[in-house]
């Protein structure tokens, strides 16, 4: 195979600059020494020029507007868009419902756990019911008003006994004392009650007769 047979099929691509660099180099070297192939390449050039002259470039005026019009024609209808909107909304609602359910569960669990503490804190803020105090306000040990010289009492609650119970001091805050006596009934005629705040101790003294 001579060089012209190898180069001739490449002339068209060479004309269009589509060969590999090495092939471009080989073709160019061959053309420099071969008048036949050079003439054939000239024919390719002439053919290209004539084709370009024949082809008419379409007008581009209104091209963009035409594309937009085509796109508008492809847009979904209003009903389809509304359907798509509600479908997306439905997805959001489903997610929101799941989140609300989880939040509700967490709230219920938190309430269940904290209820005893809340109940206690609310209860401790309430005013205590009137009740007897076992300790005198003074720090020093002293006889409290529980001492009585009356006859031994029955343990059954009676009106007489209620007058023998400790004086009620509801104005004192039970939180400041270490003992609050609500009721004290004794068969011992001289019952004494006192407290030692320093050691957090309350004493009920029931002295024997003998």
């Amino acid at each position: 195979m001579n060089d012209c047979e190898q180069i001739a099929p490449l002339l068209g691509a060479f004309q269009d600059g589509e060969l590999e660099p090495r092939e471009m180099q080989d073709v160019a070297r061959h053309l420099a020494t071969c008048k036949t192939c050079e003439a054939e390449l000239g024919d390719y050039n002439m053919l290209g020029q004539q084709l370009r002259e024949v082809i008419t470039i379409p007008p581009l005026n209104g091209f963009a507007a035409g594309v937009n019009a085509r796109l508008d024609a492809m847009r979904p209808s209003l009903g389809e868009r509304i359907g798509a909107f509600f479908e997306a909304l439905n997805q959001r609602w489903a997610a929101a419902f799941a989140m609300v359910s989880m939040a509700g569960a967490v709230a219920v669990i938190t309430a269940l756990i904290l209820t005893p503490y809340l109940r206690n804190s609310m209860g401790s803020g309430a005013q205590p019911a009137p009740m007897a105090k076992a300790e005198p306000p003074a720090a020093a040990p002293s006889l409290a008003s529980a001492t009585t010289d009356e006859a031994p009492r029955s343990l059954m609650p009676t009106e007489e006994e209620s007058s023998q119970q400790l004086a009620s001091t509801p104005d004192l805050n039970p939180g400041d004392s270490h003992a609050v006596i609500k009721r004290l009934e004794s068969q011992v005629p001289t019952t004494a009650v006192w407290s030692e705040p320093e050691h957090g101790t309350t004493v009920i003294w029931l002295p024997s007769d003998k």
Partner: protein
């Protein structure tokens, strides 16, 4: 796609109810729901024989001296028990005495209880009081042997500031 959404919602609701039920069960069985009260009862004899404070009563020595003027304190018995709220404890004391203690509520850090002292079958003293947690109530005065019987009643609750009210 719709099916998967329904599955997600159903799973969320199921988990929510399961968590709520588990929380309810947990809250119902927590220690705070049924606190136990420890009750300590020390029976002592106080007299004026100048023998000092029994070595077993050493921790209580300063307290006894600040409350009373006796020169001898001798421990006769020490009893310590636990009870759930609302259950009565019975302690046998020297001289045929019996002490009943029934914790029945907690108010803040105070333990509400009823204390009844019996001489045999005869009730001698009955009181309804609230005692600060770890506080001490002393019931004394009855004669025993050559001195005075002193009964120290302590109540302890291992529960937060808390849980139950009367």
């Amino acid at each position: 796609m719709v099916e998967s959404r329904r599955g997600t919602v159903a799973a969320a609701v199921t988990i929510a109810f399961a968590l709520a039920a588990a929380g309810r069960v947990w809250a119902g069985t927590s220690p705070e729901a049924t606190p136990k009260i420890g009750v300590r009862v020390d029976s002592m004899v106080a007299s004026d024989t100048h023998e000092g404070v029994d070595t077993q009563l050493t921790p209580m020595g300063p307290r006894l001296r600040s409350l009373f003027s006796y020169t001898t304190y001798h421990l006769v018995s020490h009893q310590e028990r636990q009870t759930p709220m609302g259950t009565e404890l019975s302690f046998d004391l020297p001289g045929g005495r019996i002490l009943h203690v029934e914790p029945h509520g907690i108010d803040g850090d105070m333990i509400a209880m009823e204390v009844v002292l019996f001489q045999g079958e005869r009730p001698v003293m009955s009181t309804d009081l609230k005692l600060r947690n770890h506080g001490v109530l002393i019931v004394g005065g009855p004669r025993y042997e050559q001195g005075m019987l002193i009964i120290s009643i302590g109540a302890d609750c291992r529960c937060p500031r808390t849980a139950q009210r009367e």
